[in-house]
């Protein structure tokens, strides 16, 4: 796989001093402040939806952008975790934190199982194996009794965070979700910028060379896959909590495609790209519901236009612009 341009742009931005540690701190500080006040300006459920999908796409980007692996089955992790969390909260009555943790844990284990087989192949074969497994998960979701089949799992109780904060209050729920997102995002950010992340980058850049330097590339890919699956699961569990339902759409291959789309649109291999892509796609799906089935067409058109006009993704292009007009 050739190196995605967003990667080159964000590296150049660091090198040229467009991104500096100080600017980075200011930027993330502003984001946190924005995240804290935003629910008073924008409909919180919409924001929470964006946060869930942003986490999902960022987890996906860890594989696509930083390891060079295109998974086409990531909905399996999102959906499975959602079902597990939903069922545990509704039918078992677990506390919400445990429900979310359990969903994440199951997605992590599932990631291990699927990843262990998928990483033996690369390129299109890897994508097809992940898709194949995701289709099996979809089949299970249709067949198993506890998922509610076509109806999905409805009426998931939100319970109380830490045993006393009632999460049916949209603001309380929002801050709970925001905290989860921040945590998941921090894990991804750290992973990218860790010794492990540097090995991943070398694998993406030149797998044979990484191997010849003594790195067991398959084991590194597997760990990346498991982290990515686990965090996709965290996004799915959180989403189940926010929407109070999980349906077959969460495990459908459309969702696996959507996360590819969000990541490419925002800029793969950039830290912020997937979140920007998620914001855009969720906003379109949300505000264009009046167009019915045409939403898919509109989103598709925006995607085609976006990728044609911004080859590097939105964030990649922004960094590229900043490179030519330094500030």
């Amino acid at each position: 796989m050739s190196t995605p341009d967003g990667v080159q742009e964000s590296r150049a931005a660091w090198r040229l001093g467009i991104i500096t540690p100080r600017r980075k701190r200011i930027f993330f500080g502003l984001l946190v402040v924005l995240g804290l006040v935003l629910p008073y300006l924008v409909y919180p459920v919409f924001l929470m939806n964006v946060l869930c999908m942003a986490l999902f796409a960022s987890a996906f980007n860890l594989l696509l952008g930083y390891t060079g692996l295109l998974s086409f089955g990531h909905a399996a992790f999102l959906g499975t975790a959602g079902y597990v969390t939903g069922w545990l909260l509704r039918s078992v009555g677990l506390p919400v934190e445990l429900g979310v943790l359990a969903g994440t844990a199951v997605a992590t284990v599932l990631g291990w199982a699927i990843g262990a087989l998928a990483i033996r192949r690369s390129g299109i074969y890897f994508a097809m194996i992940t898709l194949g497994f995701a289709q099996m998960i979809y089949f299970l979701a249709v067949q198993l009794p506890f998922t509610g089949g076509e109806d999905g799992l409805q009426g998931i109780p939100q319970g109380k965070a830490l045993g006393f904060v009632p999460l049916h209050n949209p603001y309380a729920l929002y801050y709970f979700v925001f905290a989860i997102f921040a945590l998941g995002f921090a894990v991804i950010y750290r992973t990218i910028h860790s010794p492990f992340g540097h090995v991943l980058r070398s694998i993406r850049e030149n797998e044979a060379r990484a191997l010849s330097l003594g790195y067991d590339v398959e084991r590194y890919k597997l760990v990346a896959f498991v982290i990515s699956a686990g965090l996709a699961g965290l996004a799915g569990s959180t989403k189940a909590l926010v929407l109070q339902f999980v349906t077959l759409t969460d495990v459908h291959w459309h969702k696996s495609g959507e996360v590819v789309l969000m990541t490419l649109l925002g800029g793969m291999g950039t830290v912020m790209g997937p979140s920007v892509g998620a914001l855009l796609v969720v906003a379109m799906e949300n505000y264009l519901t009046g167009f019915g089935d045409w939403v898919t067409v509109i989103v598709g058109t925006v995607f085609v236009a976006g990728v044609l006009a911004f080859r590097r993704g939105i964030v990649g292009e922004a960094l590229h612009l900043a490179r030519n007009f330094p500030f």
């Binding site: 190196t3 990667v7 080159q8 590296r11 150049a12 090198r15 750290r190 992973t191 910028h193 860790s194 010794p195 492990f196 992340g197 540097h198 090995v199 980058r201 070398s202 850049e205 030149n206 044979a208 060379r209 990484a210 191997l211 010849s212 330097l213 003594g214 790195y215 067991d216 590339v217 084991r219 590194y220 760990v223 982290i227």
Partner: protein
């Protein structure tokens, strides 16, 4: 230099009847190679002779169809490639193998990083890698690349990329280096630099190299193995091999 001895002592690498069959096409046929510790050993032969395939077999990038590979007396025929690398046998590639979008410093650092034992630590900051910068710069110094530490590898001219590749290989302090056409595509000046570099690093290491440039081979290598259509045609010191009529016919015919 004397010809390789028949005893096991002094050998760092040995292959026994190594054969590679690509669906009926025998690219490497019954190759028994003996590389003595501390020598520079050349593998030469016309294009398509199977030299790169031999490298791929030795480093386990390809499984052999039959035969055995012994490294430091140990049978590594069924080892995994990363494991072979960790045992100290590091290869380079015929086409330059840098990490294109990493900086020059980062290229070398990736190789150094493994020894910290933190390469799976996804929870640690990459600031912990800075302890490697001193050593990385030393290695870059040795190939005159220290001044380019922050250049992205893809932007280096070809000859400099190959130098970076050698520095990266040396970062692992390998006991044995396999270099696949290290001077290919280089200008005269770069060739001289690389030859000197190989001579220097070979002082306390073993080098097995594929090389087309016969003057480099004559100048640098103790032993030469000539491969033709997958089989060994001749083996010995340059003076001897270069007089072999079969070699003259097969090799010079192509070289002209």
């Amino acid at each position: 230099m004397t010809a390789p001895t028949a005893t096991g002592d002094g050998l760092i690498l040995e292959t026994r009847h190594l054969t590679k069959d690509f669906r009926g096409f025998v690219a490497v046929s019954d190759v028994s190679l003996r590389v003595r510790r501390g020598t520079i050993h050349a593998l030469i032969g016309p294009n398509g002779a199977g030299k790169t395939t031999v490298f791929n077999l030795l480093t386990k990038f390809l499984p052999p169809s039959s035969g055995a590979i012994l490294y430091k007396g140990e049978d590594i025929t069924h080892e995994r490639p990363a494991e072979v690398a960790r045992k100290g046998m590091i290869r380079s590639f015929q086409v330059s193998a840098v990490f294109p979008n990493l900086t020059v410093l980062e290229n070398v650092r990736v190789a150094l990083q493994r020894r910290l034992g933190t390469s799976f630590h996804f929870w640690k900051s990459d600031h912990t890698l800075q302890v490697l910068h001193g050593r990385a710069l030393e290695l870059l110094e040795a190939v005159d690349l220290a001044g380019h530490r922050d250049t992205v590898a893809v932007e280096l001219p070809y000859g400099r990329k190959r130098a970076l590749e050698i520095a990266t290989t040396l970062a692992l302090d390998p006991e044995m280096l396999l270099l696949d056409e290290p001077t290919q595509g280089m200008g005269h000046e770069d060739v001289g630099r690389v030859v000197e570099l190989i001579r220097r690093v070979a002082a306390d290491r073993t080098v097995l190299m594929v090389e087309h440039n016969l003057s480099v081979v004559a100048d640098l290598c103790h032993t030469i193995t000539v491969l033709q259509r997958g089989s060994i045609l001749a083996e010995g010191p340059y003076a001897e091999v270069s007089r072999n009529p079969q070699v003259l016919e097969a090799y010079i015919g192509v070289a002209e």
